[in-house]
């Protein structure tokens, strides 16, 4: 597959899968404001994912639309990082995942605004302003729950620890990304980890939480989500997300 197409699918699939996860919170948020906020963040990510997938389809040149790509690919053809396909867990786990992702996403998009590919740069410039609000919100929640009650602190610390091994993929590169970095199209994910850790340290300090430090990471050696290797959870998510288009191909509103 064309390297740019694959890179665009990594960006788009990660957005779409996380949007789907956040959508599961509709009607289940702990309070109305957060129910609305979770799904608004999901909506932003869905919109961004659509722009990446649309562009992926155009570059691929086989006439596949954003809908074809979202609804008619099997799990091994999805290129999202594993972090975003993990089940929501409780509100602390959802916000811990969001915190890890949002801070990395913000750094990634900021770097992509400098891409030599004009379309990549303009999508990133559009998305980064939205993600700035996501990053602020999830950091606020990590602090609020970490520096909250004993119960909320314990839950947030446990969530940070459990999700930690899934964060490595966001900062690892393979030959596909390296070739695009060389051309100035992709951001070098390896360079984003130091500033990401600095943000985590600042937020964890304020939240009275301990930032996990293990260097053992899922999916960074022999392939992970970006290469189409997924946890058992993605198939179940896609079964629900794709059901209608699989059973009634081409169905429209």
């Amino acid at each position: 597959m064309n390297a740019l197409v694959e890179y665009l699918l990594r960006l788009g699939d990660t957005d779409v899968v996380l949007a789907e996860r956040l959508g599961e919170w509709v009607g289940h948020g702990p309070i109305l404001e957060e129910d609305i906020a979770l799904t608004n963040v999901g909506l932003d990510l869905l919109g961004q994912g659509r722009m990446w997938l649309t562009y992926a389809g155009e570059v691929e040149g086989k006439g596949r639309s954003e809908d074809d790509l979202a609804f008619l690919r099997d799990q091994n053809a999805f290129h999202n990082v594993q972090l975003v396909e993990l089940p929501n867990g409780d509100f602390a786990a959802t916000m811990a995942r969001q915190f890890y992702f949002d801070q990395a996403h913000l750094l990634l998009l900021n770097a992509l605004t400098q891409s030599t590919d004009a379309r990549v740069a303009e999508i990133a410039a559009k998305a980064v302003k939205e993600v700035a609000y996501h990053a602020e919100r999830s950091a606020d929640w990590v602090i609020r729950l970490g520096d909250g009650t004993e119960e909320s602190h314990t839950r947030m610390q446990n969530a940070l620890d459990r999700l930690w091994p899934y964060t490595g993929e966001m900062f690892s590169v393979d030959e596909i990304e390296v070739s695009l970095v060389t051309q100035g199209i992709a951001a070098d994910a390896r360079e984003l980890r130091a500033p990401w850790l600095a943000t985590l340290d600042a937020v964890c300090a304020e939240a009275t939480l301990t930032r996990p430090a293990s260097e053992w990471m899922q999916g960074t050696r022999r392939g992970g989500g970006k290469q189409g290797v997924h946890t058992e959870h993605l198939g179940h998510l896609l079964a629900e997300m794709q059901f209608l288009q699989r059973v009634y191909p081409g169905a429209l509103w």
Binding site: L43, G47, L106, N110, K126, V131, E136, A139
Partner: protein, 184 residues
């Protein structure tokens, strides 16, 4: 007052087509309310970026406010509908992403209308929202005056309100909750 749209509607379609001008198209667009904030038009919100007309072909450039805004597709449908109503069939709608939409494009008059509608208007950010992300907690906290009573003693309840573009606030003086159109 008879608007340009009403004038065009009053004449047969073929005559209306002959009378199409860029100004007429802008007038029609200026009468289309935003689906989610109907007190302001899509032109006042800065969604319409350019209009051109040549050889009976109207070309309109629009830009989405937020990537996932569900109103974007409805706005495109409304534009086609209003143009068809005055006999303009050959309409090309082009979505442009750059430069990215900013609340700085919201006209002063529209800011006044938003306040009267009960939505605190966005602050002018000079086209730059802080996206550095290194210290998200250090972002300058803006003071958002209550659109009901004008008090500056207000509290942020959530970064997201009834739509992605708005945050929820509460006025500590009059105790009313209200929406703030976020700077973007």
């Amino acid at each position: 007052m008879v608007t340009a749209e009403q004038r065009a509607l009053a004449s047969p379609a073929h005559e209306a087509q002959a009378a199409v001008t860029v100004d007429l198209v802008w007038d029609i667009l200026a009468a289309i309310p935003d689906p989610e904030v109907p007190v302001v038009s899509i032109v006042e919100l800065g969604i319409v970026r350019a209009v051109s007309f040549a050889n009976h072909h109207v070309r309109i450039e629009i830009t989405p406010t937020y990537s996932g805004c569900p109103a974007t597709e409805m706005i495109a449908a409304m534009i086609r509908e209003r143009m068809a109503a005055v006999g303009i069939q050959d309409v090309e709608l082009l979505t442009v992403l750059a430069p990215a939409w900013t609340t700085d494009w919201i006209a002063p008059e529209a800011r006044r209308k938003l306040t009267e509608f009960g939505i605190a208007p966005p602050h002018v950010v000079g086209g730059r929202v802080d996206v550095t992300g290194i210290s998200p907690l250090r972002r300058a906290k803006v003071v958002v005056p209550c659109p009901q009573c004008g008090s500056t003693n207000t509290t942020l309840l959530s970064q997201f309100g009834s739509t992605a573009c708005k945050a929820q606030y509460r006025c500590e003086a009059c105790r009313e909750p209200f929406d703030y159109f976020k700077s973007h």
